[in-house]
């Protein structure tokens, strides 16, 4: 019971922290997703110019915009930014405080991640309501909707563990934001966030199916669009990756802590 209380308190503190810099949070998290959607909308609008019924790899204009609006929803739901400051905390010697806190470093950051998820789910709900109101996309059946939500939560966990991993590398590297940007660029391109995977060369897509990338965006988007896809391979692949990264993070933390000098103490 005491342990749950600790988690709830940490989540509340994290929520307050985010809300204290609302403008920054909007520009950092919501802004990029909205601008990305705006550019994609305009790009596809100009591609389909005057011929919305034209089919491009099975997508007419309405379906293409629906794909990208669900990509916006998935992006907002899954791409957390909670471990952004993690590397700074290591580099500046601020993790010394965590060593005497009654909560472990990873627990603190996981609670922070959950706090971010709460806010992003709220923002995502508002965004989805707007998209539905303007008939940009349609809700699938309840089964598909909850399946996609379930997958989104697993994807967000995957992202969190990956970002946590990148942050922990600060024990060795001066700049870990570069690794985060590399991961982000790769995943946006390879997961079907920019264009649907149907538009990629077939051999390329076949190669991608051995990686977790298609499950990050393409799979949840297609399920949200009401397409029946096997959920099991997606859950299994992401699950295995999360477990592997979690063990890796434990190992890096232990090794890194031996190197840690506690600058500024």
């Amino acid at each position: 019971m005491k342990s749950i209380d600790k988690w709830i308190k940490t989540i509340l503190i994290s929520l307050n922290k985010v809300m204290a810099y609302r403008f920054n949070f909007f520009l950092q998290v919501i802004g990029p997703a909205l601008v990305f959607f705006f550019v994609k909308y305009n790009l596809w609008n100009s591609i389909y110019a005057g011929n919305p019924e034209k089919l491009i790899q099975g997508y007419n204009f309405k379906e293409m915009i629906s794909y990208h609006s669900w990509a916006l929803v998935v992006g907002l739901l899954t791409q957390g930014h909670s471990s952004m400051n993690l590397s700074e905390e290591i580099r500046m010697g601020r993790i010394s405080t965590y060593l005497i806190y009654p909560i472990h470093f990873w627990q603190f950051h996981t609670a922070q991640f959950l706090a971010h998820q709460i806010i992003q789910t709220f923002i995502c709900t508002l965004t989805l309501c707007c998209l539905l109101f303007f008939h940009v996309c349609e809700l699938p059946s309840a089964l598909f909707f909850f399946q996609a939500l379930q997958l989104c939560f697993i994807v967000s966990l995957f992202w969190f563990s990956l970002q946590y991993f990148a942050g922990l590398l600060a024990f060795w590297l001066e700049e870990t934001w570069i690794i985060r940007v590399i991961l982000q660029t790769l995943s946006v391109f390879l997961s079907g966030a920019v264009i649907p995977l149907e538009l990629y060369p077939q051999e390329f897509v076949k190669a991608l199916s051995y990686t977790p990338f298609p499950y990050i965006n393409y799979y949840p988007i297609k399920i949200f669009m009401g397409e029946s896809l096997h959920l099991f391979p997606a859950l299994l692949t992401l699950g295995v990756w999360i477990v592997v990264i979690w063990f890796l993070n434990q190992m890096i933390w232990k090794k890194g802590l031996r190197l840690y000098t506690g600058a500024g103490m």
Partner: protein, 263 residues
């Protein structure tokens, strides 16, 4: 002329110290190069994949759009090399009060605030972006005059982009935490990275006349493709002059609003 050489000497020192600083973190140096290459590849490949299924986007063929994108990537690379780090440092310096040292230096504060940090690894990647631009330009059989015009056009585009971003960054003096402005800046860059014709009429007019973001890339490239579109270049030069005056005024006002956090 004397002032110009003075600033050139100061800038030479800035570049030298940035290079020696970057070389002491070699892994980061290499990772930045890899990161940029991933970014070019994803941008150009995405567009190439779309062109596998359509013949034109707006009025442009595949190589016309790829040349535009490589022009923007080259511009982006110069921008990243020369100024981008400074925006992040500015928000940090204002918050911590270290901006005092910028004000104390015997040079104009805009120069020391936005040109102090040179991103050495990105300068290496300029070779890649310029090669890409030359490759796609040769596919379009650009004339000799076009090739001669590209360097001054890149300079004009850089000038316009920097002015817009400097003005935007001035708002950091009014904020407690200015780092969000940098994310806004990046989003505006994303908007300018696409040709103006993809946007709807109202958006295009707004982003050309009121907030001249689309002139950064579209003005020079549209002129290169069609010499009758000289009004684009005229609008671009006018925007640079107007924003130059505006920047001077806003920067002065911003400095008056600066409360040194360390004092």
């Amino acid at each position: 002329m004397k002032t110009f050489f003075k600033y050139l000497r100061i800038y030479q020192k800035f570049v030298e110290t940035s290079f020696s600083e970057a070389m002491s973190f070699r892994t980061s140096f290499i990772l930045i190069i890899i990161m940029d290459i991933f970014f070019y590849a994803s941008t150009l490949l995405s567009v190439s994949f779309i062109y596998e299924h359509v013949s034109t986007i707006g009025p442009w063929s595949k190589y016309q759009l790829l040349f535009f994108l490589s022009f923007m990537l080259a511009l982006d690379q110069i921008h990243m090399t020369i100024v981008s780090t400074n925006f992040w440092m500015l928000s940090h310096d204002i918050r911590t009060g270290q901006f005092d040292f910028t004000l104390l230096r015997p040079a104009h504060s805009i120069f020391t605030a936005f040109f102090r940090h040179f991103r050495a690894p990105s300068s290496i990647n300029c070779i890649v972006t310029f090669s890409l631009m030359i490759y796609y330009g040769s596919k379009l059989h650009l004339s000799f005059l076009d090739w001669v015009l590209i360097p001054p056009f890149l300079l004009l585009s850089l000038c316009l982009l920097c002015q817009i971003e400097f003005i935007l960054s001035a708002s950091m003096f009014w904020l407690v935490e200015g780092v969000g402005i940098n994310f806004l800046r990046i989003q505006l860059q994303t908007l300018s990275r696409w040709p103006d014709f993809i946007y709807t009429y109202t958006t295009r007019k707004f982003l050309t006349l009121v907030f001249p973001l689309l002139l950064i890339g579209s003005a020079p490239v549209q002129f290169l493709y069609d010499k009758s579109k000289w009004d684009y270049i005229l609008s671009m030069i006018s925007a640079i002059i107007i924003l130059g005056i505006l920047l001077h005024y806003i920067w002065k006002k911003s400095l008056r609003n600066y409360h040194s956090a360390s004092s």
